[in-house]
Assembly symmetry: C2
């Protein structure tokens, strides 16, 4: 193990395109299912359901990171969690209609507005607003949402990339951004998480062997244990995997 | 918990159609991914990889049970197992072409013939030949394959239904059939497994809450633990869940 590879934005985009192209033939459905399941599994490890006295709120963005959040929420309900979803800007694609329907069939409530005092009703917020393809300014309505997340005392678990962070540089000075308590990186961590000192898990255990060789990632990804869909890569808790960075 | 519901063949067919219909909107891709993953997870629990001195052989049938076996094999490789696949009668559908491609990209070898002495090369056979929709006679080439499985001393793990068994009555007298060491039932066990005394796991943790209510399955399904994708429902090892049958 030489250390962990942290992807820049372009590498992340190329990785996903390659996985879903003709050569590897993985579908969005499959990757999103495994990604969302791994996030739910990691969250259930870090926040056991008996430790949460209130509900979980998933905030869902307009793209694939939002899709991961929808799948994650569905699995959390399967694990016995009580989840609400806030999904203010919906994507008009069949995949997303199906994912919403699946959540409704888990009897998840979709709320129409973010409450002023998130901490009153929620023990945990899952941030699945923006992922590795985020660039530029935070547009409405997500600017106000991220403002609310900066203010709340409820812990936040971010899927792949904390929303609003620069995918490579992390928190940009002068911008009002939040630091999540947990990040679940997907497939491989992004550059912005390299100096993140919170709880950091990796999920999305689906990179094919041939792909790992082709993209020179051999020995640059942490090892999962048993049939776990996630692995702890926190700087504080896994000195071994980080030692040679 | 009143006991476990064992599905008859018609109920199994209706369940799958309902899950993938407009009302629940789950896709074959999603269900197969979760089913296959749960099988791989259960198998890794029962047969830890360090306990297998030889390879695993997955025998893949022409339908969805075969698809579950392909997905299961891919995840087993992700878990560090060494898997070969025997897939003598391929289905000419994009889904199956993709699943085969995904296995090839895990560097799984597809063998062209079943060896005479399975036990020489393989520590475990995964039987994903026929599932809950099997009826009637076992046609070539699967008749000979099942004959071989009757003879081998290699343990067999069957996905959902042991191939050749009547889905409701189990082993039919006078037919040459095998008894697997492990059955991983999917979504809900089928009638044929009701008196099965081997190791019996349930996987396919994806039945939506609304579906469970609609189909009157509340309290008739075993409880999964934590984020586990499988649960042990062996008659010998879970007296509690079976007590009121």
């Amino acid at each position: 193990m030489k250390g962990i590879k942290y992807l820049n934005q372009q590498e992340s985009i190329v990785m996903d395109e390659l996985l879903m192209g003709a050569k590897y033939g993985l579908s969005t459905f499959q990757l999103m299912e495994l990604a969302g399941l791994s996030c739910a599994s990691a969250i259930s490890k870090v926040y056991p359901k008996q430790s949460l006295t209130k509900k979980v709120l998933t905030i869902v963005g307009p793209g694939n990171n939002g899709g991961d959040g929808l799948v994650c929420s569905r699995h959390l309900v399967q694990f016995g969690y009580n989840v609400d979803i806030f999904y203010p800007k919906r994507t008009d694609k069949q995949l997303y209609h199906d994912l919403v329907l699946q959540c409704r069939n888990e009897e998840i409530k979709f709320i129409d507005e973010l409450p002023n005092d998130i901490e009153k009703d929620y023990s945990l917020v899952i941030d699945s607003i923006f992922g590795y393809s985020f660039k530029g300014d935070i547009r409405a309505p997500f600017d106000k949402i991220i403002e609310s997340l900066c203010k709340t005392s409820t812990p936040i678990a971010s899927i792949d990339v904390p929303s609003g962070w620069d995918v490579e540089k992390g928190m940009i000075q002068g911008k009002n951004l939040f630091v999540p308590q947990l990040i679940v990186s997907l497939a491989a961590p992004k550059l912005c998480t390299q100096t993140y000192y919170g709880i950091h898990y990796l999920g999305g255990r689906f990179l094919p062997r041939a792909f790992i060789k082709e993209t020179n990632l051999t020995d640059l990804l942490p090892e999962y244990k048993g049939c776990d869909q996630y692995v702890d890569i926190s700087i504080s808790s896994s000195p071994k995997t980080q030692s040679s960075l």
